[in-house]
Assembly symmetry: D3
Homo-oligomer: 244 residues x 6
């Protein structure tokens, strides 16, 4: 089975980290391919960045379909382009926010999200609503960290995130903490060990969900909203997105 993880930003150090963490949780026969698109933003911290990451995601889906990929993970906590990607893909496509929130709802009564910048908190709440997970989401907390600070080995990022997670644990009446950025995937176990509460990283959960769905033969429904896009011309920079 082949699962492609698309990190929608173009920061390959993050992509490699994501791919590494994902590889450690899959079954023997599951191949993980982690990529960043050839176009798009260096990090995703706004609706604007999200919107401009989607063409790259869809390009990677197209390549994945040609290469026989069985399932995809979109590895950005805003789950950008999730429905567009599902239209273009045959197999399942899972967002990491979606995966993490679902998992959290299975092991406890409530979770808080700890994410990067304040301005993305509304995006997380909107996702919680769309996935039906709002009733389990107690709070979305921002660390006031830029996404790329997670890539600087000398930064205070880890300590700041741990402290925000601690506050969530102590104040929000939660059973788990959902990490609100794909770039935090490598911190998950350390935070869990330090705090003694379940910490959920969407990357690894999404990969296991995707693997499970493929194993069960469940694919994206093609009878309704998520049918393949209709064939039509695309112009200008995006002309290569036309579908045969």
């Amino acid at each position: 089975m082949k699962i492609k993880i698309i990190n929608p930003n173009t920061t390959w150090s993050m992509t490699r980290k994501i791919g590494h963490c994902a590889s450690q949780v899959v079954a023997a026969g599951t191949e993980i391919v982690a990529v960043s698109p050839a176009m798009g933003p260096a990090s995703i911290e706004s609706h604007y960045d999200e919107a401009l990451s989607v063409p790259g995601i869809l390009d990677e889906i197209r390549l994945g379909e040609e290469a026989g990929v069985d399932a995809y993970v979109i590895a950005c906590f805003g789950d950008p382009g999730l429905y567009a990607a599902r239209e273009a893909a045959r197999g399942p496509v899972i967002g990491i926010a979606e995966a993490a929130m679902h998992a959290a709802s299975l092991i406890g009564s409530g979770f808080s999200v700890v994410t990067t910048l304040e301005r993305t908190c509304g995006i997380a709440w909107h996702l919680a609503e769309m996935y039906g997970m709002q009733r389990f989401c107690r709070k979305v907390r921002a660390c006031k960290l830029n996404v790329l600070e997670l890539e600087h080995s000398g930064s205070d990022a880890y300590r700041i995130i741990v402290e925000e997670c601690r506050q969530a644990m102590e104040q929000d009446k939660v059973d788990s903490i959902v990490l609100g950025c794909a770039g935090m995937t490598d911190l998950c176990k350390a935070i869990e060990d330090e705090l003694g509460i379940a910490v959920i990283d969407g990357v690894t959960v999404a990969v296991k969900l995707a693997e499970s769905l493929v194993h069960l033969g469940l694919k994206t429904g093609k009878r309704g909203d998520l049918a393949y896009p209709l064939s039509k011309p695309y112009s200008g920079l995006l002309e290569n997105f036309s579908r045969g």
Copy 2:
């Protein structure tokens, strides 16, 4: 005052029609500029098309900001890229689905949407939810028409749409019908005259809302989720979207 209407698809016959209808409802001092982006899909009928229309919209917002535009209307019933556009713009940005639904909620207890393809009905419902208008939306009805059939003078599109509107009027207990495609803007008054029920075209309503907000000095909030995007590099085809 300058209002820019962005038809997110690249079909200029539709853009001209939209611009013409919009021009007829604004005040003397209001200038209407209607454009299609230089890139993107010929019509928008899926999440995929929506996603690929957004870079073009954002490009037009950038050009508009440089040209001193006071407000924008996104003239596609899926309101693609609305929040990304709001981040990039100083003044108000109004979607036509948003505008039409708001207006319908002011003049009656309920409305139905009559749109093109079945597969876009879910998008309309999602918008109704996001705007708080779900409680007024009785039904979203599809005419099973492709968007571009609205541009063919010899097509049955008008009759098919009228008949679907008639069914909405007779079965859905509604006070108005919201036309679910910018390409229907020129049909609004004819349907209203034929059926005797309020028919709401989002293009003209959005233009009047935008004009009113500008007149009242109300701009897009820049203190939270809708602040200007952060400066960062963009790669590949999209490198020109980097912000200073």
Copy 3:
């Protein structure tokens, strides 16, 4: 076009202020008539006051219909009698709470209401729910001011309101503040200038919405819940409300 603004309380100093502010935002051809009913409470600060303001409102609607009024604004933040007024009127009827909340939802992710007495906060929440605006309303804050203190030139009202707005701005994660009393209409720009956040006065927004709907030919739906009241006898003090 003739727009009638009904201040449902009988305090004419407030009515004049409202009329003055409204006149400044309408187009050249729009005539503003601002009135207080001949019966009712001096101010509206409870369900009881609201209920007793409605006969006066309906009387003014009747007079307006005879005088060919095109649209009405109910200028009290509880929007008293809105649906009854819509039944009795041919054209649109807009409440100022309704208008302000709608506008706030178009320019940002969230707003707080700053109103007069604590006991009216529940009314504001209920309106937010009815209009579908609850998802944008972060908080309803009371200044603990009586409505008529806004009419006393020497009162501390302005300072108290500004301070409550400042708290909303700093604590509620909002993009705008909605003023929760028609009597605050003249303070809007001053507060906005002092705080640097969008401050929304329902009176002026409602007038622009009403003007836009009339301009677009949109009237109150008469096919369902909002059809004209049935003809029947009324007794006692209210016998003159019988409809032919």
Copy 4:
């Protein structure tokens, strides 16, 4: 204990019927007083009628307070003026729609309302929402009967209502039917006997709820939204509503 039932319309034949039915369900020591106000509409079939019934209701509350009434029932299915009445009263005030819906939720998973005119269905749904009973309400059905047809002994009203109740029973998956008009109170047992499903009349349920609350010493809360109205002048026809 003294319970005052206010039929908010001025049709005394209905008032007597309501009083008679109510008297049959109370305990030995409970006195029932059923009245119609001295002012208002002959029947209530719109928001307009509801609004104009409220001054008469509040007048009766005032008289009731002077006479030491312990609790009130508002006997019109729109529960007009319920919150205003609660502000003015010391003891509990119960609406018949409120009472009937609460009772229905205690004895089954769902109920349908069978009411008079189509145009009032929206009012019933709104009440269901306000009382938290929307999740139990399967459908609101109109018999297309004017309220006063229920007072004509030779009318087909009974048969028409039974048939609509039968449809509710057969199609709506309900455990009970709520009668949507105080004027149907005398038909309750006959319909129940004919159809073999629980039929709930709000008048009798409201009286028992009011009696129970008084017995338990529970009064309308006076600490918040429902505190007594503030003292202030009222003008014109309504000047007598001023409170000391």
Copy 5:
């Protein structure tokens, strides 16, 4: 009329207290029988305890049906087994949380619950949602008291509960406080007298609701979800629960 109150735990001192309080509020002809089941937990403080209390409750319902009981009250604030009990009973079955919340919604705009252990707060919220009472519930507060501490005459329980109720009164903007444990039934009036706010004990309200429903001839609906359980074998310890 015979009303059976089932205290689902096996602590008879609490059962006697509940029976005593209930007896004081019913009409002359109403007989109260208060029992604890022959099996089950000594107190109920978790989903686990709730689940294990239900067989005992259903056993008491069976005995009650044989003895001609007219209605039942389940006297534990988690309302364990409510729907199962309704299936097995002919007459109404009322939970004390259900009763208290309904009553609170009739006399004010909001209530807070004051209960025993933190871990049961989620159960109370879930009940509020199921009964449609979530919109009236401002907060669920835990006293951090074990249920059985309420049975120790020398404990600080009363003082701790009063202090939590006081906080609810001062901070939660409520019109009443709902006591979140059947074992608090005897404290209700004392707290109300001390604090001067309505305090609602579900036991007495449930008894009055049950009495009212019986008086009105309203029984549990047997046409749908709450029909009698189908006849089938039960095995092991529970074999006696088989129904003829």
Copy 6:
């Protein structure tokens, strides 16, 4: 890894079928143990049956904990005792309705449930609400089949279920069908092949979810509502449920 599947009814032919289907989807190192409790109902078709199945489930959880089980699946579509089981277990506990609904929400916009008896439809809706899956659930359809008819090889059960699934596929605008009974687990692929739409069996999905959570180290949260039950005495038939 050891996963225990608890079929809460005592019909071992169904238990074996469930165990067989589950065994076919797990990874090499995962051991499946499928059991029925030693006490309880032969089938589960009501709240009453559900309630009486829970002691047996909890007994099996206790045995499982002693035997080092890593995760549990409750294999009845009502997910009886789910929260009580989570309190008693260290590892994850997954219900099959929960699992199936979650999976359906990941591969499409909507699903319908096809279950056995009409009277259990309300239970399925309630679960959808509790899990946040109501927004994806289009309809719950009953086949009017008793659970045990699924165990009779000569019955028409398969054909009846297929026809109901076909109606769901054609009328409900769904991307998948969720089978609403553990006893249908062996029919899943045949129905999917016959109809050409995704058909989701909760047993196999729940097993894969449980396996994934264990693999990721995610356990039931023990800090809040789902902490281990407190130690206390249990009486009568249930005395063995006392926890040390």
